[in-house]
């Protein structure tokens, strides 16, 4: 305890952790907190094929985590890969790595885990983890081209949101936006879909879009944006 008081008196700080108060470890600054972030996760990946994610690690005390390791675990808890973090120039103490993974062979939605291994450092660091979710589906071999037209006058609607969802929903959905000419393209696997288009103050649900080749659809947004929200339940 005396050493801790000495350290505090000299202005030594325990960033991201706390001084312990047990006699045996009175001078030990407890574990630093570490954040793990996962980014650049594709919303849909192709079953059995490789895809990449970005993993970032940040020590709250600004410790250099470059060179340390993260592990990726699948939904069954199986470790898939161990990756070494590299230095980033963004923030002091931050590190990152791009990890290539292989998608599951079965269609569905998955949540996997990234685990930061607490290294054996002078000041201990908390083990940290984060999760990321994605849908695994068949390869998107076809293009659905949607031309979104306004309710009045038939002028094109730019930036309209297009969402295609399979009738048998297993977690994958495909989205895009229209360009300045009101045309948007969505890449999807063969299948039967529901198309939802929303832009400006209007929307339109196309109940069935059968995709067995490239498809072009003209959609006139006839309904007010809130129409389905008025369904009386």
């Amino acid at each position: 305890m005396a050493k801790q008081l000495d350290a505090q008196a000299t202005g030594t700080v325990c960033v991201g952790g706390a001084w312990t108060d047990s006699p045996e470890s009175c001078c030990v600054c407890t574990t630093h907190v570490v954040d793990v972030t996962v980014s650049a996760v594709p919303s849909n990946v192709v079953i059995g094929e490789e895809f990449s994610i970005s993993v970032g690690v940040q020590c709250s005390a600004g410790c250099n985590t470059a060179g340390q390791e993260v592990e990726i675990y699948d939904h069954l808890g199986t470790r898939l890969v161990t990756a070494r973090l590299g230095q980033t120039s963004d923030t002091e103490g931050s590190s990152a790595v791009t990890v290539t993974l292989r998608a599951p062979s079965v269609e569905g939605r998955y949540r996997w885990t990234v685990r930061y291994l607490a290294p054996d450092l002078e000041v201990p660091h908390e083990e940290a983890r984060s999760t990321f979710a994605f849908a695994a589906a068949a390869k998107s071999e076809h293009v659905v081209t949607v031309e979104a037209l306004a309710r009045e006058g038939g002028e094109p609607i730019p930036e309209a949101r297009l969402v295609l969802r399979p009738h048998v929903y297993q977690g994958s959905r495909y989205s895009s936006r229209t360009n300045e000419t009101g045309v948007g393209r969505v890449h999807v696997p063969k299948g039967v879909y529901q198309l939802y288009v929303t832009g400006g103050l209007h929307e339109k649900l196309v109940p069935t879009v059968v995709v067995d080749d490239d498809v072009t659809i003209q959609v006139v947004l006839t309904e007010p944006i809130h129409s389905w929200r008025m369904l009386p339940w």
Partner: protein, 589 residues
């Protein structure tokens, strides 16, 4: 028959053969009274089928085909909430669903997605308001579990927790103004003349999921992703037909389901959560409990009420069976199920051009076809609320100062002319459109070709095809007389009979068209009585051990209903409570 990919990839499917039960067993359903269609049997019949009987626990099956800690019945909001919560509490969860995988999700998948979530600073006023609503709005309703103070407070507080629940799972939650802009203004509360309503009106009426999920079914798809990401196992095309129950302790030990045409016994080591919705597609239950025949819903066709009967047979008390939520005529009428769709589409009598009227059993018009909750002084208008003749959104009209069902004098027909047929799509739907893929045609030609619309080249032919010959005994006037009278009123510019002001256009033909109309019941409210833990209570108010329920199969609404309330309270609130408490049970085996 299908099983979710989750379970396949997790390899968690377990067939537990030769369970640690002695040699003797019998089908428990036989003891519960005949429920369902899975060939549930008496002990004698079971013995005759080769299953031994007579051991120390003869209510147990000879063989369990599957097992889980918690079995959740149903894939709507309540089932999703119960399954996620039980799973996150560490339970091994199995969800069983009556429908195919493509058609799962119940009414939750197609409803407006709004859920109430009163902020804490208005809880007391919301309590006052809900207390008044569930007390019957004029009807003397004796206090019971459904309307107890504890229940209503639980309902409000659990509803409010839904925002954080969603956000903790990563959802973007938006309030009604963000979701609907000005369109939401004045919608809530539904009953502005009730005590506490003014304060209730000061907060957002409801919330829903936005962001990347924004759109039809937003909340359901978000929660479904949570189910999928957790690898929660599901069995489709596996309706619950009975419960395995200890006849002495009344404890629920498992579920009897129908799978591939055979009884399928699933051991529930901790509990069963029944979240299988109401009975909109059980015409017998609607006749018996609601006094309405031919009552069809635009929602899921899989809400057939058997699970309520199964729980009833297991000793559950039931409540609110006479309450239903229905769009008040003339918002929309059902046309009943039309192949190839299982869920009934709806039709509007409010054609934008051409002549159209609705006639009832006596060939007479019976209400302003254009009067609707959005455009007329309904209950949303505080100044007019409480007045006789005022209609409210959810299937009630005020008569003699109290709320009663809207009149639906069947058989009813919408009769219209060619200009009306070509004026725009008359048909729409909820489940049929959003899940089954029905796309209404702009000129109603598809529906005409499919036979949904009856066509005639004269009034005489129409009368013949509709069976609408006059009959003085029942006051059934000639249809021609009603049409002539309507056309005369249109020429005069005044509907002197019913005060209709919208589209006073005469019916001009031939040809003439007709569509048969049915009452449109959106959802029922009745089902099992439960406490705030989600435990199902028997007729003596005692807990039926290990039996839980959530959702619209036993909500708090007695006489009226405020839309989006049982989503927040009955489904999410009770679903989480049932899931958490079910997961906390000590396993019996």
């Amino acid at each position: 028959m299908s099983e979710s990919e989750n379970s396949q990839r997790l390899s968690r499917r377990q067939f537990v053969k030769g369970a640690a039960v002695g040699a003797a067993s019998m089908a428990a359903a036989g003891m519960l009274g005949g429920c369902g269609s899975s060939g549930q049997t008496t002990p004698e019949a079971t013995a005759a089928q080769g299953q031994p009987t007579g051991a120390a626990a003869p209510w147990l099956p000879a063989e369990w085909h599957d097992e889980a800690d918690v079995i959740v019945v149903g894939t709507g909001f309540a089932g999703q909430a119960a399954a996620i919560t039980a799973h996150d509490a560490g339970a091994d969860v199995l969800v069983i669903e009556k429908s195919t995988e493509a058609l799962q999700g119940g009414n939750s998948r197609v409803c407006g997605q709004g859920f109430i979530a009163p902020p804490e600073n208005i809880w007391d006023d919301y309590f006052t308001y809900l207390k008044a609503l569930t007390a019957g709005l004029g009807f003397p309703v004796f206090p019971d579990e459904a309307a107890s103070d504890e229940t209503i407070r639980f309902y409000i507080e659990e509803s409010s927790k839904s925002i954080k629940w969603f956000e903790d799972m990563g959802a973007y939650v938006m309030d009604d103004s963000e979701a609907m802009g000005g369109a939401a203004k004045g919608l809530f509360p539904f009953f502005p003349h009730m005590p506490g309503a003014e304060v209730v009106a000061s907060a957002p009426g409801f919330y829903m999921i936005g962001g990347e999920y924004a759109g039809p079914g937003a909340n359901w798809y978000f929660l479904e992703d949570q189910i999928l990401e957790r690898g929660i196992r599901k069995l489709y095309e596996t309706p619950m037909t009975g419960l395995v129950q200890d006849p002495i302790t009344k404890e629920i030990l498992g579920v009897i389901a129908l799978r591939e045409g055979k009884d399928y016994y699933i051991k529930a080591k901790k509990a069963v959560c029944v979240c299988a919705g109401g009975f909109e597609y059980n015409q017998q239950m609607q006749r018996d409990f609601q006094g309405i025949a031919n009552n069809w819903s635009p929602g899921t066709p899989f809400n057939t009420g058997e699970t309520i009967k199964v729980c009833w047979a297991a000793g559950a008390d039931i409540r609110n069976m006479g309450n239903r939520n229905a769009p008040v005529y003339p918002m929309d009428f059902s046309i009943g199920p039309k192949a190839p769709y299982l869920s009934a589409p709806v039709v509007t009598p409010k054609v934008v051009a051409g002549g159209a009227i609705v006639v009832g059993a006596n060939n007479k018009r019976f209400r302003d076809e254009y009067k609707s909750w959005t455009t007329t002084a309904g209950i949303h208008n505080r100044e007019k609320s409480g007045l006789d003749g005022v209609v409210i959104f959810n299937g009630r009209v005020i008569e003699d100062g109290v709320y009663t069902h809207e009149k639906t004098p069947q058989p009813m027909h919408l009769i219209f002319d060619e200009a009306a047929r070509l004026s725009g799509p008359l048909f729409s739907g909820c489940f049929s459109v959003q899940v089954e893929g029905y796309a209404p045609s702009a000129d109603n030609s598809t529906e005409l070709e499919a036979g949904w619309i009856i066509k005639a080249d004269s009034i005489e032919e129409l009368v013949e095809k509709l069976g609408r010959q006059p009959d003085p005994l029942f006051g059934k006037v000639p249809l021609q007389e009603t049409i002539d009278h309507w056309n005369e009123m249109c020429a005069a510019g005044v509907d002197e009979d019913l005060g209709r002001t919208g589209n006073l256009t005469p019916l001009e033909g031939p040809p003439y068209y007709a569509v048969q109309l049915f009452p449109n019941c959106v959802n029922t409210q009745g089902g099992m009585v439960r406490n705030t833990k989600g435990q199902v209570l028997d007729i003596h108010g005692q807990v039926i051990p290990r039996l839980y329920s959530a959702g619209e199969n036993g909500d708090i609404w007695t006489i009226v209903y405020q839309c989006m309330s049982n989503v927040g309270g009955g489904c999410y609130g009770y679903g989480r409570s049932a899931g958490a408490n079910a997961a906390a049970e000590e396993p019996w085996a």
